[in-house]
Amino acid sequence: MEQLTMLLSGFATLFQDPWTLILAVFGVAVGIVIGALPGLTATMGVAIILPFTFGMAAVPGLTMICGVYFGGVYAGAVTAILLRIPGTPAAAATAIDGYELTKKGEGGKALGVATFSSFTGGFISILMLVFLSPILASFALKFSAAETFALAVFGLSIIASISGSNPIKGLMAGFLGLIIATIGLDPMGGFPRFTWGIPDLMQVPFIPVMIGLFAASEAFKTIGESDIAAKTAVALKNIIPTRETFRHIAGTVLRSTFLGAFIGCVPGAGADIAAFVAYNEAKRFSKHPENFGKGEVLAVAACESGANGCTGGAMLPMLTLGVPGDAVTAVMLGALTIQGMQPGPLLFRDHADKVFTLFAGMLFCYVIMLAMGLGSLRFIGKLLQMPKSVLTPLILALSIVGSYAINNNTFDIGIMLVSGVIGYVMQKYDFPPSPVVLALIMGPMAESNFRRALTMTGGSYDFLWTRPITVGFLLLAAASLLLPVVRYLLARRRSRAAAA
């Protein structure tokens, strides 16, 4: 238990340094604001705060960055649940059931569960980072193109479980998303596909698409509603979950945390994938999978603990191997380098004291996040009491500026608006938007890794059945894809039999 002693001495160092504690609080607060704003992801939050840490000592600077990261991953859920604006891509999964809960008047419960699940997921994942690094780090390197391809296929198969009432419509939305995901430079040959000579299309900016499909489409719908002066929802209540709720979600939270941490370790897979996978598994294990998509509190718990469980997981290969687990940790790798703490095997040898103080700081950040989350929810709840004629223009204005802010490019606003109109039509005719988002995240990952694996094996398709992890994921994918279809067919036969 050498790690435990190190961690305790890390805490001792941490609490002797009030400056670090203040910066941690500040970092979490900034992260929550950035995460809640549409378009600004945890990655951008970390990048924005990074230059301010150049002049600081290593531990305070990095603790603040972690605060922004954790707060950002968490706060995406707040607007996703209350307003159907996923602040971050991971929250697109939370929005599915979270917003349904708000419409049922259970927004307070959803937010409380989201906050506690985020905290638990994040806190445990940091503990895993402290105690299990050596085991999990070697696992991260096992992932080659073939394994990542299989993981992406598994991710795509989740489309079936987030498809809503009609799987055909969900799959159609998914494949539409996959086609959109091929716009831009071909990942293996650099060939421009469907760009029509427009350089802005060389990389599909998927966050504007997400903002359009979720936030703008909902806002457009609201414009047409007659009771304009009506308040959006009743005041938030029951934010602190009851003991019963805790017991109800405990298993899901733990499972999702481990899933999230595990996915975080995989290079190139981040919180967004973790959230969707956690959703899928929660539904698979649930006794009432039919409630998913209609406001199931377990879904919110799963997505949030998965997404935050990813934070510790993603930092693990970054710290131990110098290999970033996702986009945020890639930026953090730069931050550590600038602080003279070169991530990699030497980090724990040369800077063990600083690393363990940082770990203590991370745990502290999560505690702060829990306190701040719960404290601010009541205030945020007031937002809902605005009349729709005030709130809807604000949502659209934020969608516009948020889409612009990703690349500082007005073209992206256009993408967001077109997606908003398409999203409105989709919503009106019961095509779910989340498969499109999932396809945009996973599609490029699946294609590039499939073709990369093919190149690496010299054109042989053997990699599909000779590698155990790959085979495992492909089987899981087949199961997730077929299960809901079978369920749907059975239900239809039953209802028709009942009708006849």
């Binding site: 159609m172 494949f175 719908k221 304009i228 604000l394 659209l396 409105y424 010299g458 054109g459």
Partner: protein
């Protein structure tokens, strides 16, 4: 929301069935276009690669298959008479509100490079709030100005996002 509870008994309106058919046909055309364009993509000469056209083509084919499945689903439902022919007509007022709202949003997008963020966003928020029923002479511009300024402060001042100044003012 109130619909969610009655989904099992609710029948899809006749009009919606027709629109779903139209969507399916539209997507078939779209997917066919994708496949057609993709066939023009040259191979990159790597013998071990499937080339840039393979994935879009496969996706297009699956989308066509799914669209056909949706058509079959709807046509069977229509034949079975599983539709609600008494659905209320579309409210023209609602269509007017939504269309105007969307047009206003696009107008904001197009005008921002010329008018700049501050002017175009303020005008947009005023008009949209008015459209949605907030027509108070003082409150409407006041709230719009506050929101415009708040977003400007958050993004421009704190987050260093260079919101457009507008060609008119440069």
């Amino acid at each position: 929301m109130e619909q969610a509870a009655e989904i099992p008994t609710k029948k899809t309106p006749y009009r919606d069935r027709l629109i779903e058919l139209a969507i399916a046909v539209l997507l078939i055309c779209f997917a066919a276009g994708v496949i057609y364009v993709a066939q023009g993509y040259s191979d990159n000469g790597m013998s071990t690669d499937v080339g840039p056209a393979r994935f879009p083509t496969v996706y297009g084919l699956v989308l066509i298959a799914l669209s056909i499945a949706l058509i079959v689903q709807n046509v069977t439902a229509l034949n079975r008479g599983d539709v609600d022919r008494e659905a209320p007509p579309i409210s023209t007022h609602r269509v007017f509100l939504i269309t105007t709202g969307i047009v206003l949003t696009f107008a904001q997008y197009w005008s921002m490079p010329y008018l700049g963020y501050l002017t175009s966003m303020f005008l947009y928020l005023c008009l949209l709030a008015a459209l949605m029923g907030l027509r108070h002479v003082l409150l409407n511009p006041l709230i719009s100005a506050v929101f415009t300024g708040l977003i400007y402060f958050c993004f421009y001042t704190l987050l260093n996002v260079p919101l457009p100044v507008g060609e008119l003012f440069e």
